[in-house]
């Protein structure tokens, strides 16, 4: 039993192994974009739901939507990744794929959302809409962004996959 022979054999095999394994070495992918900010501009005010430290950690910051009674306001939603130094906008992407997306609004209290913007098939999209209020009081506004929903379903929010599901408290006074 010669040691040199054994060593030579081991060297050959480990060299092959190192070549094989180093060939598979991959490059690190940059930090992934994360959707974590939703802003809704109602009339001239903007209200923000943001969780820029990502899932878990610090609890999300949620503005209270304050509106005047018996009003009608144009609304517009923007979505962002706010985790970096400069927020990265996702709204344009969603608009470019508006046939596959739908903003669903669920409300409580004296607030309603109507006049959804439409996609290229004439189906609702909802990135811009009209927010209407009646008497003073409190309520909530739940905004859901669905991916690939059935827009013709009785309740499209039960179809497709949910990308966003946030709820703002609402005060009308």
């Amino acid at each position: 039993m010669k040691i040199s022979g054994l060593c030579r054999l081991l060297t050959i095999f480990s060299t092959i192994a190192l070549i094989v394994f180093s060939a598979c070495k991959k490059e690190k992918v940059d930090e992934q974009e994360n959707l974590n900010v939703l802003k809704i501009k109602i009339g001239s005010s903007t209200f923000t739901w943001s969780d820029t430290d990502g899932v878990g950690g610090t609890a999300p910051k949620i503005d209270t939507i304050k509106l005047t009674p018996n009003g009608s306001f144009a609304s517009e939603i923007t979505i962002q990744d706010g985790s970096g130094n400069l927020p990265q906008d996702f709204t344009a992407e969603v608009i470019s794929k508006k046939n596959d997306h739908l903003f669903v609004f669920k409300t409580t209290g004296n607030i309603a959302v109507t006049d959804f913007s439409i996609d290229s098939n004439g189906k609702p999209f909802g990135q811009t809409a009209t927010v209407k209020t009646t008497a003073a009081g409190t309520g909530s506004l739940n905004i859901i962004l669905k991916h690939l929903p059935n827009k013709s379903a009785a309740d499209p929010s039960t179809t497709g996959e949910t990308d966003i599901d946030v709820t703002f408290p609402v005060v009308i006074k």
Binding site: A17, F21, W49, D100, V166
Partner: protein
């Protein structure tokens, strides 16, 4: 690598120095009748060279001590047989079975065959081999092992299947692929073993804690995937396997070619598999295709008295994940459960789209075994291994729909290197045994995604085990001791952890005994311990798990799990009755599990139920039994059953995600021959699984466990002689009645039924 060379060199030099020549080998034999297998008592065994011999006892056993390393001439004779002469080469302690053909008219026709007798396990174990292996070929490792009592599977659909041994799985069950500890990404519930079962000639499962021989992690058991030994006669041979499944229109081709010349023995093996969308009784499951491409090469040679073996294997798989199971939030999950089935009506397709997983696994192993003089035999093994796991999401929130498979959302690369030395000493007054040392190093690189941090981990261990056996005294005793130390270093800016160090160490032991009852029965008892250090995902996990819509929080304060396993097994084997039964208790202290938090985590996708990794004391008790009754010639009635009671001792509740009680019975007409067909058989089986009622009430489930079910199966098999070749042909039907059912341990049970009827045709031809 140079450290390993030094270790090798040191060990070799040390043992070479002890080389001596002495005559203390023992030949232990058993003489059996060739047809019935019955032991032959009072046969005379004579060793010509030493003019000594022995007479077999009533069990056909004999022992001849004090033999040298040389070839002896053995005469075996019996009053009813003519004397037969046989040469036997003694290279160490030898155990052989000799079969004598019993001739009624005392014709001079005696056949002697030799076979090595393996040491019997004191621990409960089951083995899949021969015809049972053929019957399950083409399936994944997890699915194949389900045919063993006490082994079930944890599934993510039908294509991702993890073996569950006596209720435990993932990091608590070790897998050895041709003697190499498989270092994959087994921590994930949807990470299937990265192994091509066609490599194996037999797969055995050691049930229960067994750290002594196998090291850190063997809390629930060990799965040994063993290839056939390399060819030992000069020539070339091979085998081709073709398998087709109706469900998923899956095809598998696996072939092997091997050869031996004066110097080398080698084998090349490869497997290709392609399957499309699976079908339940009512609908297709979209994106459930699978593709696999695996290959392995083995080379062996003798050099002086040393045996060398090199082994390389590559495993590649791409598995589609059921589209409907990729959900956005809890509302989506509840909607899917309410719907009870996938939303769309898909058709058949081989196309694999996102979401999907892609896995590449490479193993390179080198092994050498050589005698250390007369003192014993040393085996040195070293391996390099790499697991690359990539997961592809269907889409990113915010509209980006990734296409193709160039960029994975989650990717980990796990390279490992290991070295071990095992030394078996020659028997010293009825003691067999040996010890060894082992070292393992690995580092994880998370390329994308943030499920687990980067880490490096090194482990060292040393063990010694001895067995006492005074042949033919009916009692055998075995005991062993092991020490392991593991160092874990986590370094990840993403997780805010700089150079965080963890140290774990533990002493494990094992003690067992076998009591032989005649030649046909035995009872064994085993008490052994095992341990497992917490995995990085349990320490640092921090994120939402899609598919289960839950937020998982790691716990850096976890300590090691420790298991104490006690098992009693009995085995009896008579002509018309055979039974294998085991009862066990596995007490696991500091058992790591996911405990629900009181508050959900609020994310931009809505609220997710949150879970944190916590520790408790757990106890798993259960049993499994396999019996075969042969009331008439060539009729076999088999019953196989298993039960498990798994409790959280702290909260006095059931543990979640444990296999249900099940029983399988089959009736087989075997050993039929027609024209050019031999070994023909037909078998009908019924598998009944109970509804899982042993679930914890404090840990909610999104949906109650599914109802119990019964499945009928049918198998027809035969060996057909075609052009002087034997083709083993098996036609198998699973779920013959195409019943719709769901399995508690299938993580996709919330979204869809289990696939329905599956007809398969398996052909095996050796050349």
């Amino acid at each position: 690598m140079s450290k390993y060379f030094m270790l090798f060199s040191f060990v070799i030099v040390t043992w070479q120095a002890q080389a001596q020549n002495a005559c203390h080998f023992i030949l232990r034999g058993k003489v059996k009748e060739a047809h019935t297998g019955a032991p032959i008592a009072y046969a005379n065994v004579l060793l010509k060279e030493l003019a000594t011999g022995a007479v077999t006892d009533e069990n056909g056993n004999f022992t001849i001590p004090n033999l040298c390393r040389q070839t002896y001439t053995l005469d075996i004779s019996h009053v009813e047989c003519k004397k037969h002469t046989e040469q036997i080469a003694i290279e160490g302690n030898t155990e052989s079975i000799f079969t004598l053909q019993h001739e009624e008219k005392m014709l001079s026709n005696v056949v002697i065959t030799e076979k090595r007798v393996a040491l019997e396990n004191t621990q409960s174990n089951s083995e899949l081999k021969g015809a049972d292996m053929d019957k399950n070929k083409g399936e994944s490792l997890g699915e194949m092992l389900k045919s063993l009592a006490g082994v079930t599977s944890l599934n993510t659909g039908a294509t991702i299947s993890k073996p569950v041994v006596q209720g435990l799985h993932s990091d608590r069950v070790l897998i050895f692929n041709n003697g190499v500890r498989q270092e994959g990404q087994q921590w994930g519930l949807d990470h299937a073993p990265e192994i091509d079962p066609f490599i194996a000639n037999n797969i055995s499962v050691v049930k229960g804690a067994s750290s002594i021989k196998y090291g850190v992690g063997a809390i629930g058991g060990v799965i040994l995937v063993e290839p056939r030994a390399l060819r030992d006669t000069i020539g070339i041979g091979g085998e081709v396997n073709l398998v087709g499944f109706s469900n998923g229109r899956t095809g598998v081709l696996s072939s092997m070619i091997e050869g031996k010349n004066q110097r080398f023995s080698w084998r090349l093996q490869g497997t290709a598999k392609k399957g499309g969308n699976l079908q339940t009784p009512q609908y297709y499951l979209s994106n459930t295709g699978v593709e696999e491409l695996n290959g392995s090469a083995m080379l062996g040679f003798r050099w002086k008295s040393a045996i060398f073996e090199a082994f390389y294997s590559h495993f590649y798989s791409k598995i589609g994940i059921l589209k409907d199971s990729h959900i956005g939030n809890l509302t989506d999950l509840n909607n899917a459960i309410e719907r009870g089935r996938p939303a769309g009506n898909d058709v058949f397709s081989y196309q694999i789209a996102r979401p999907a997983q892609r896995v590449n696994h490479d193993i390179l192993k080198l092994k050498t075994t050589f005698p250390t003089g007369e003192a014993g035999r040393l085996t040195l093994t070293t391996f390099l291994q790499q697991d690359l796991r990539e997961e592809f999401d269907a889409h990113r929130p915010g509209g980006k729909v990734p296409i193709g498979f160039t960029k994975a959302e989650v990717a980990f690369q796990l390279p490992s290197a290991g070295v071990r030395a095992d030394w078996d000493h020659r028997p010293i007054s009825n003691f067999h045994g040996g010890g060894g040392v082992e070292g393992l190093f690995q580092s994880n690189n998370t390329y994308s995604g943030a499920l687990i941090p980067d880490y490096t981990q090194s482990t060292i261990g040393a063990y010694w085990a001895e067995r006492w056996r005074r042949y033919p005294f009916p009692l055998e005793i075995e005991t062993g001791l092991r020490y392991d130390k593991r160092h874990l270093q986590v370094d990840s800016t993403r997780f805010g952890e700089r150079n965080r160090q963890f140290d774990f160490d533990n002493i494990s032991f094992s003690a067992g005994a076998i009591y032989h009852i005649g030649s046909q029965g035995k009872v064994s008892l085993n008490v052994s311990s095992a341990w497992r250090s917490p995995n990085v995902n349990e320490l640092f996990s921090n994120g939402v798990h899609h598919g289960t819509a839950s937020f998982e929080r790691g716990n850096p304060n976890l300590i090691a799990e420790r298991a104490l396993n006690t098992s009693v097994s009995a085995h009896f084997d008579h002509d018309f009755f055979e039974i294998d039964a085991t009862v066990f208790q596995n007490v696991i202290n500091n058992f790591i599990f996911l405990k629900p938090d009181s508050l959900p985590v609020l994310t931009i996708r809505g609220a997710f139920p949150a879970f944190s990794y916590e520790q408790t004391n757990a106890v798993l008790r259960g049993g499994d039994v396999t019996t075969t009754v042969r009331p008439f010639k060539n009729i076999a009635w088999r019953v196989k059953g298993s039960t498990l009671f798994a409790r959280n001792k702290t909260t006095n509740e059931w543990l979640p995600l444990m296999p249900t009680d099940r029983i399988e019975t089959s009736l087989t007409v075997e050993n039929q021959s027609f024209k050019n067909m031999t070994k023909a058989y037909a078998s009908i089986s019924l598998t009944v699984a109970k509804k899982q009622n042993r679930v914890p009430l404090s840990i909610g489930d999104y949906q109650a466990p599914p109802a119990g079910y019964g499945l009928v199966g049918l198998t027809l098999g035969t060996d057909i002689k075609l052009w002087h070749k034997t083709v083993t042909t098996i036609l198998n039907v699973d779920n013959l009645l195409n019943s719709a059912y769901r399995e508690y341990l299938d993580r996709l049970r919330y979204f869809a039924s289990t696939p329905g009827r599956n007809i398969s045709l398996k052909l095996k031809m050796a050349f």
